[in-house]
Amino acid sequence: MEQAEVMVHVEKRLNRRLMSNKIGRFVFLLATLFGLFVLALLLYRVVSEGWSYINWSFLTGKLSTDPNRAGIFGAILGTLWLMAVVAPVTMILGVATAIYLEMYARPNKLTELIQTNIANLAGVPSIVYGILGLTVFVRLMDLGNVVLAGGLTMSLLILPIVIVASQEALRAVPSYLSEGSLGMGATKWQTIRSVVLPVALPGILTGAILALSRAIGETAPLVVIGIPALLIPLPGSIFDKFTVLPMQVYYWTLDSSLVAEYANLAAATIIVLLLVLLLLNSIAIVVRNKFTKRF
């Protein structure tokens, strides 16, 4: 009799524990789906608002205050010019820094300081880089708010990401490869140049492309260095004034309370921007999967 009572009690308790486990599983799944649900909602919203506004004249037309004639060719061109500055600058500086830290630096206090510094730079809000760019590139070096100033600002912003990604790629190169090269009599630099770098390159490129896509979508630093909302001539060199896709989204969204159709134009520009980012990310995935050698 007593034993049966205990059994009932144990059974009840067990059922309760199993039940709360089931409920937990369900709630955790719901939470995971929530993020994806918002993503789907966001994409649906953007596409439904903007899709009908995308046509050839929108992609190749110049900026205009008339919603029916406005085009984003200048912004597309500006984004390309910005990439033309950011990509080489970050690749050269990022890879060089990574090689130094992984291959040459001795493990001392200075190296540790540099490494900590890079980690901290990655956490500095992008708008602070904008202020640095405004003060140093636009005002002090007197470049004005041109492609070069914007590009250098963006380069500083994504440099920590490129450095860390490159370091990881270099670290992943098996040590027996470089040891073999050194053992055959190659010098350190020869080994790095002809053995380590080629193996690490896909990893470095993947990281660099992902960092570049961050730069393309970033708006705050460019707002701060003062990219004009005015109708400006198409940029033809790195010393010309410019605008980029996210800036266009920004101005059209702000003005959408005045002219309702600007919201549609902003959505259409977002579609173009997201497609560019999708393209870059696909390239990064292809590079990573196709060219990475496994040892």
């Binding site: 995971t32 929530f34 730079l121 500095v124 707002v223 996210p246």
Partner: protein, 313 residues
């Protein structure tokens, strides 16, 4: 060496080769220095940021006493009788970040628990790239979403909501930070050894109990670090709040009203052509300095927590 044997020995050849400095040798010796100079650029960036912010902030505090800046609850930079109190901006940043974290912490942590403890390998492989997409959406897109979709939606639920308010960008910012909290927490939870889970499961614990009593305590330092990094991200976020929360410098507790954050103030001042040398212009740097210190402190704290309190197995 005998005069008959004119051929130099191998050893002599090597010695001779060593003495001769080729171009390659020179490159070999210069490379580390060149690389070091480039590496020091990243340190220079930090120094640049600190010097820029410090010197201009110093200039600002010559005109507006630091105590007045930190304790005044009104910010009227462009009025006849300008007042420079940072508190309205701190309030704006506080509310937007608080709302964001109220969304990001529970949902991000629960997502991490699901992916790390419940989901099968296959499901995890499906979900993780999708979360990465969520993290890769530019912030300006979230700003557009908050302004043109979330605010009108919330207006139907909360009648008194202004068309620019701090609630809607706060929520959207929280969604933006979910992937960050989720992936960092998941990393911390995944690195808890399987043996510990199996030990608890073997004693009859359910998965929920294992998660609550074994995995989360073991991964706590990493989880807290993910919260702090998420918060730092929220404080520094610019475009969402600039677009959706307006530019009213409001010191209030009512989140349905328009409020300006520190970041949005910086955007407003730089976009408004404040003449260089004016007090308004310098106030920009004082606000940026405050922002920089806040985020730096959090990042340093997050790294300290995850390093100091990490349980090593």
């Amino acid at each position: 060496m005998s005069p008959l044997n004119q051929e130099p020995s191998t050893r002599e050849l090597i010695e001779a080769r060593r003495k001769k400095k080729t171009v390659g040798d020179r490159v070999e010796r210069m490379i580390p220095s060149i690389l070091f100079v480039i590496t020091s650029l990243s340190v220079l960036t930090t120094i640049g940021i600190v010097i820029t912010l410090f010197s201009e902030t110093f200039e600002f505090f010559k005109r507006v006493p630091i105590l007045e800046f930190l304790t005044t609850t009104t910010l009227k930079p462009l009025s006849e009788n300008p007042q420079f109190g940072v508190l309205p901006l701190i309030a704006g940043t506080f509310w937007s970040s608080l709302i964001a974290m109220l969304v990001a912490i529970p949902i991000g942590l629960m997502t991490a628990i699901y992916l790390s403890e419940y989901a099968s390998q296959r499901v995890r492989k499906r979900f993780k790239p999708m979360l990465e997409i969520l993290a890769g959406v530019p912030t300006i897109v979230y700003g557009f979403f908050a302004f043109t979709f979330v605010t009108p939606l919330l207006k139907q639920l909360i009648p008194g909501l202004e068309s620019t308010n701090i609630l809607s960008p706060g929520i959207v910012m929280g969604v933006m930070i979910i992937p960050m909290v989720a992936s960092l927490s998941e990393d911390a939870m995944s690195s808890v050894p399987q043996a510990m889970r199996e030990g608890a499961l073997g004693l009859g614990a359910t998965k929920l109990e294992v998660t609550r009593k074994v995995v989360i305590p073991a991964a706590l330092s990493g989880i807290i670090a993910s919260f702090v990094l998420g918060l730092s991200r929220a404080i520094g976020e610019t475009m969402i709040v600039t677009i959706a929360s307006g530019s009213t410098k409001n010191f209030t507790f009512d989140v349905t009203q328009s409020m300006q954050t520190m970041t949005a103030y910086i955007v407003e001042v730089t976009g408004g052509d404040a003449p260089a040398g004016s007090t308004v212009y310098y106030s920009l740097y004082a606000v940026a300095m405050t922002l920089f210190l806040f985020t730096l402190l959090m990042n340093v704290f997050a790294r300290y927590v995850s390093r100091k309190f990490r349980e090593v197995y």
